[in-house]
């Protein structure tokens, strides 16, 4: 369980396409080899004396859904703002869809839909008028296509009813504001979608809708980059993860690889951990104690052998269960190691 081993095995922010990797991951690969949708090198951002980002490298593979995880204040939003050219880096470089940012923002951004920080709209305008205003600024939309694009976008986020779309934005609930922000993201066809805590303020039904929307965008070929502090959300929606702590990326990679980085193990609840460890040693099974549990390494040993060794040695086994490294566990390890 050494952090070095974890991050050493996990880092895969490397230029070669993922297909060169020796171990195939579970499920079909949905992302393409080739240039990443976003590439960040040595990116730093300093606000006066506060270092928000410290020399970050990150690739967002084209076709992936990458979850940017990190505790509050770890630099997630700063990173997204720099990616989108809203803010200028203090050092390093950003490429978005192959275009240097913020210099070539005009080339990249028409193909990028983004919801960063809280959604921002004019309070006295209705949702529909706000969206029409956004659509007027979208380079890819022909003028004649704007009304249809607005209606389609409102429908996709569940705001199409007149009661919702024609009310002034300032009367919207937090969830409706978030939905309108997402509607602006899907106004035009996108190659890359950037979402900053997209389920913020949404009820369970809204959260489900957002997940469906992300899945739709992904299925249509868009790369999705989302930041979140909700680990279950990332676990359910993302193909890739990058973990950010105090301005540095401490791990990036495919979600499946990150979660398997520790290898299989069996967690054993017992009232006599020392006896259990002795029994494992006698049976030449690698094991160690961790947080009151005995963990037996299953890399070379089937679980049946572990259990029979323990039971024959007279160790009382209250419960034995396959360890599954949840993202939450991984996240806590990584962020606490970094701190």
């Amino acid at each position: 369980m050494s952090p070095a081993r974890r991050s050493g095995g996990a880092i895969c922010a490397r230029p070669e396409p993922p297909d060169d990797q020796p171990t195939p991951s579970v499920g079909p690969r949905q992302w393409l080899p080739g240039p990443p949708a976003a590439r960040v090198r040595g990116l730093s951002k300093t606000y006066r004396r506060t270092v928000a980002l410290d020399s970050v490298d990150l690739d967002v593979p084209t076709g992936s859904v990458l979850g940017l995880l990190g505790p509050n204040g770890s630099g997630k939003t700063t990173m997204l703002r720099l990616l989108l050219g809203l803010s200028r880096p203090s050092g390093g470089s950003v490429e978005l869809l192959g275009q240097p940012m913020p210099r070539a923002a005009g080339r990249a951004l028409p193909h990028v839909g983004a919801l960063v920080e809280e959604p921002g709209f004019i309070p006295h305008l209705s949702g529909r008028h706000n969206l029409t205003r956004c659509a007027a600024a979208e380079p890819l939309l022909a003028t004649s296509a704007i009304p249809d694009a607005v209606e389609t976008a409102l429908r996709r986020v569940g705001l199409a009813s007149a009661a919702a779309a024609d009310r002034p934005y300032r009367t919207y609930s937090l969830g409706m504001k978030q939905r309108l922000g997402l509607a602006a993201v899907v106004l035009a066809p996108r190659k890359l979608v950037v979402l900053d805590e997209p389920t913020n303020g949404l009820d369970p039904a809204g959260t489900r809708d957002v997940r469906r929307l992300i899945a739709e965008l992904h299925a249509s070929g868009a790369t999705v980059l989302l930041s979140s502090h909700l680990l279950t959300e990332v676990e359910e929606t993302c193909t890739h993860v990058a973990v950010l702590t105090t301005g540095s990326v401490v791990a990036t990679g495919e979600l499946a690889e990150l979660l398997e980085a520790d290898g299989p193990a069996l967690q054993i609840h017992t009232s006599q951990p020392n006896a259990a460890l002795a029994a494992l040693r006698a049976a030449r099974i690698p094991g160690y104690a961790e947080r009151g549990l005995v963990v037996a390494d299953l890399s070379d040993t089937p679980p049946e052998l572990v259990l029979s060794a323990l039971v024959h040695a007279g160790v009382p086994v209250a419960e034995a269960r396959r360890r599954r490294t949840g993202l939450e566990e991984l996240f806590v390890q990584l962020t606490e190691d970094g701190a």
Binding site: G98, F121, P123
Partner: protein
Amino acid sequence: MTVPADRATRDTTRDTAAPAAAPGAPAPDAPVQATSCPGDRAPSVAAGLTGRRSAPLPRLLRSELRFGLAGPRTLITLAVLSLIPLLIGIGVTARGPAGDALAAAPGPGPGLIAAITGNGLMLPISALRVTLFLLMPLGVSIAAADALAGEAAHGSLRGLLLAPIGRGRLVAVKAFGVLAVAVLEVAVVTVLGLVAGLTFVGGGGQLLTLSGTSVGFGDAMARIGVAAGWALLQVAAVGAVALAVSALTEHPLVVPATVLGAAIVFGVLNVIPSLGWLRPVLLTSGWSSVTDLLRDPVPTDGLTHSALLAAAYLVLGLAVAVAGTLRREA
């Protein structure tokens, strides 16, 4: 919730999108263009897709007028401004002996208003002068405050920059919106001043000048036109300075506060004798020269100087607004 029609139009979209993107496409070695990006298969809204890198400017300007300008604040500003010529007209018509005493009093204020009596064509120019000192700068600085600082405070500026509207273009669109407010302000005051002057006050189609001569209707209208154009330049200059402040702050209220504060400070500097050398560069010190248009013959020095000064403020304000917006962290 992919609409089936999207699937049907997908191929045609790809066919039409590719050549459309060609003129604006980056160098052929650019990675995104070199590989087939899966985003090309994204469902299109309809066939209405362009390969543009920025939305057409007329569309942005229309949108700014429709959604940026038609806000409640602009309407309130215009409503208040429209009251001024009407109040002057009614007040002049209804005045009694006390008003006669006012008319005899020296000084530009009451004397100018009193001179309108029976002289309706003087009303628009007087109304322009009265509103230029506070109300029109206030109105235009509120519009400028909404334009950049207000959008930043609402977070909607991010949306525009991400669309993307280039930052230079953004300032152009916003300056256009502020100019539109200035035009509306001056038009409301001038037109209602003319209406109030002709209906309430009358004057037989002649303008009795402050010099005592009388000029015909056509000449009077020309003078009113010059006054309106000159006032528009002054208000636009204030608007440009307000837009510059708006580009530098996150707090919309800072903008009208700065403009009004500057107007007061300028007024104070204007009356300090030892600072008389500052007077030629103070925008507000030339504002009373609009009444020169009520003299015969018209002395043009003051009007010309204040117009050139306003043009200088206009250029400087826009330059700072562009620089501030380019540097802005949105």
